[in-house]
Subunit: 353 residues, 2 copies
C-alpha cells in the first residue's frame, strides 16, 4: 500500500452513531451532561467506531523505539545505550508502561523502528527497523525522504498486523534517548513558533542543558530548512524513525476506525505529522494528557486537542495514553451499561426548572 | 465510641514509610520524578498506610444517601422521590457509580443515612437512618446536635464494619436530592465566602434557579447563625445526614490508616466538616477531581487539596472518586511492580547533566 492509498481510506466520523450515543446519554439515570468529558468522549468514540454503543475490549499500546544521531550533540541526560536497555525492560515487563498497561487491561506491543544496535531476538519484539538510528539533525537530515515514507508505512503495517488479534483502541508510546529534540524541532516547524517556546528539559536537563538544546534545534532548522507545507519533508529532515512509525500507526488506526489515544510530547509530534499528511485524522485523535514538557501545550493547541489528564507526567512510553485509555473505557462502559430513567423507574428532571 | 475517642485515634503519616517509598521511586527505571503526581500519590499513600509499598486490593465506595427538608424551597431540578429511586438503582447496579466502580474494581456500599421514606429491605442496603430527611434549613436547623453526632458516628460505624471484608482505600459518594444546598451552606460558613461565590447549578438549575438557591442559602445562614468554630454546630444547623455520615466515615478511615478519595461538591463539604473536627485528617484526604459545580474550587483551596482530575463531572455518587481510586491504584502499582535500574540493568542518568 502507498501512503496516499492509506490516507484516502480515512473516513469522517459516523454522525448517525454519534447522534444515537448522544440520545442514549440523555436517557441514562443522571442529570444530562453530568458525566462531563466522559459523555463527550463516548460520543466521539461512537463516531470513530461507527457504533452507537462502542466497547473497548482489545486495548493496545504500541511502543515504538528508535535512536537519534543528534545525541552526539549532548542533548540528553541519559546515554544512548538506555534505548535498547529499556526495550528489553519493556519485553521483560518491568517498565512503567508495562505496569500501567496491565492496570488498564491493555497489551503492550514493542516495535524496533530504528534502534542503533541489533536487539537480541525475542518472540514479542516486532522488528521494523528502518536503519540503525537517524543521522545528526544538527548537521543534516535525519533520514532520506524514502526512509521517512518507509517508517510511516512500517508503522501502519504494525496496526494492520494487530487487526487479527483485536484492537479497539490504540495508545501510542515511544522510547528513544534524545527524542524530545526532534519532536521539538517538528513542533517548531509546524507551529511556526520559536524553539525556545517549545524545547523542554526532556529526561532532566538543567538550565544550561536546555539552552544548549534550544541552540541545537535552531541549528537543525537552519541546516535543514524543513518545509512546513510538506510533512514528509519535516519528518525526513528533523524527525525520527519511531516518530514516523507512530504517525503511520495513527494513520492506519484512523483508516480502520480505531480511536487513537495520543501520549505525550513525542507522540504529539507524531500526531502533528499525521494530521499534516491527513487532516481527516483529526477527529480520531484523543489527547490523553498534558505533559510537563514545555511546548506540549502549544502542540495540543495546534492540534485543537484538550488533554484529559494533567498529572505532571513526562515519561513517555505510552504511560499517559494508558491512563487515558482507562478513561475512554470508563466512558464507553457508562454509555453502554448504565440504566435509563425508564429501565430504573427513576423520575426525570422537572420541566419547570 | 465517642466522637472524641475516634478523633484522637488519627495519627500523623508514617515518615519512615514515606522516605522508603521516595527512595524506591528514585531507583525505578524512569527519569526521577517523571511519573509526576503518581509518584507523589504513592508516597502519600505509603505514609497513610505506614507501608513502604502499599497495595490497594480492597477498594470501597461508600455511597451515603439522605433527604433534605430544604427541597420545599424549590432548590432542585429533580423531585425528592429520586433519592430512594436512585438508591434502588445503586442496589440493582444500574447507576453511573456501579459502572465506574466495576471498572476500577471497587465494591459499592450503599448506606441509608436519612432517606425520607422507608426503603424496601435489601440484603446489600446498610441502614443507618438517623431520621426521615432533615428539616428545612431555610426555616431552622437541619437536625439536632445529637443527631449530628449520631450521623458522624453512624458513618464511622460503616467503616468499622467494612474492616473485616477488607478496605484499603475509601472512596466517598453521596445521593440526596437538594444536597448541593446544604453543602454550599457548609462551605460558605467554613470559608467565610459569600453564598453567591459558592452556590452552583446542582443537577441543572437555570440562572433564576441559581439566584433563588443563593437566597435560600443566605436565609439558612441568617436564620441559623452556624458557628464556624464549631463544626458540629455547622453540620447540625445547615448540614445533612449523608454529609455527616461521610464526614464520620472519613474520620474512621483516617483512624484506621485508610486513604480517603474525596468525590465532588458534597463529599468535599463533608471533608471540610471532618477536617474542622479533626485537623489531623488532612494528610489522609486525596481530592479526586475538580467538580464543574461552582464553589468546589474554593472548598478544595480551603482544604489545601489539588484535584487529580478535571473532567467537568458534576454527578456525585462517588463517580469522580472511583476514577481517582484507579489513579491511586496505578500509582501504588508503579511503585511496587516496576523494575529498578539495577534489576533491569539500565544505565542511570549521566552525572554531568
Amino acid at each position: 500500500m502507498t501512503l496516499q492509498e492509506l490516507i484516502i481510506q480515512i473516513q469522517p466520523p459516523d454522525s448517525a452513531a454519534m447522534a444515537a450515543a448522544r440520545e442514549r446519554q440523555d436517557q441514562l439515570t443522571k442529570p444530562q451532561g453530568s458525566l462531563g468529558r466522559l459523555e463527550a468522549l463516548s460520543i466521539q468514540i461512537a463516531g470513530i467506531t461507527a457504533k452507537p454503543r462502542p466497547g473497548l475490549r482489545h486495548k493496545v499500546i504500541a511502543v515504538m523505539a528508535g535512536d537519534h544521531g543528534v545525541v552526539a550533540e549532548g542533548v540528553s541526560a541519559f546515554p544512548q545505550e538506555v534505548t535498547p536497555q529499556m526495550v528489553l525492560n519493556f519485553l521483560h515487563g518491568g517498565a512503567a508502561i508495562n505496569v500501567l498497561a496491565r492496570h488498564v487491561g491493555a497489551r503492550v506491543e514493542v516495535v524496533d523502528m530504528g534502534v542503533a544496535v541489533d536487539l537480541p531476538p525475542h518472540p514479542e519484539l516486532i522488528v521494523k527497523k528502518v536503519a540503525y538510528g537517524t543521522d545528526n539533525i544538527a548537521r543534516g537530515p535525519a533520514m532520506s525522504r524514502d526512509q521517512a515514507e518507509q517508517a510511516l508505512l512500517a508503522g501502519a503495517e504494525v496496526i494492520q498486523e494487530q487487526l487479527s488479534k483485536g484492537i479497539d483502541i490504540l495508545g501510542t508510546g515511544d522510547m528513544g534517548i534524545g527524542n524530545t529534540t526532534p519532536s521539538a524541532a517538528i513542533a517548531a516547524v509546524l507551529t511556526g513558533r520559536a524553539p525556545e517556546k517549545i524545547v523542554g528539559r526532556g529526561t532532566g536537563l538543567d538550565d544550561a542543558g536546555v539552552q544548549h538544546k534550544i541552540n541545537v534545534v535552531r541549528r537543525a532548522l537552519d541546516v535543514n530548512q524543513p518545509n512546513p507545507e510538506d510533512a514528509l519533508d519535516v519528518l525526513a529532515k528533523v524527525g525520527g524513525f519511531e516518530i514516523g512509525g507512530l504517525a503511520g500507526a495513527m494513520l492506519a488506526a484512523a483508516a480502520n476506525r480505531i480511536p487513537i489515544m495520543v501520549d505525550g510530547f513525542i507522540s504529539t509530534a507524531a500526531a502533528m505529522i499525521a494530521a499534516s499528511l491527513a487532516p481527516a485524522i483529526r477527529p480520531y485523535l484523543i489527547a490523553s494528557h498534558q505533559s510537563q514538557e514545555q511546548g506540549h501545550r502549544i502542540m495540543l493547541e495546534w492540534l485543537e486537542l484538550s488533554p484529559l489528564l494533567d498529572l505532571d507526567l513526562r515519561l513517555g512510553e505510552g504511560t499517559g495514553a494508558s491512563l487515558g485509555i482507562s478513561l475512554a473505557d470508563a466512558a464507553c462502559k457508562a454509555l453502554d451499561e448504565m440504566a435509563t430513567f425508564a429501565e430504573a423507574a427513576v423520575a426525570e428532571k422537572k420541566s419547570s426548572s
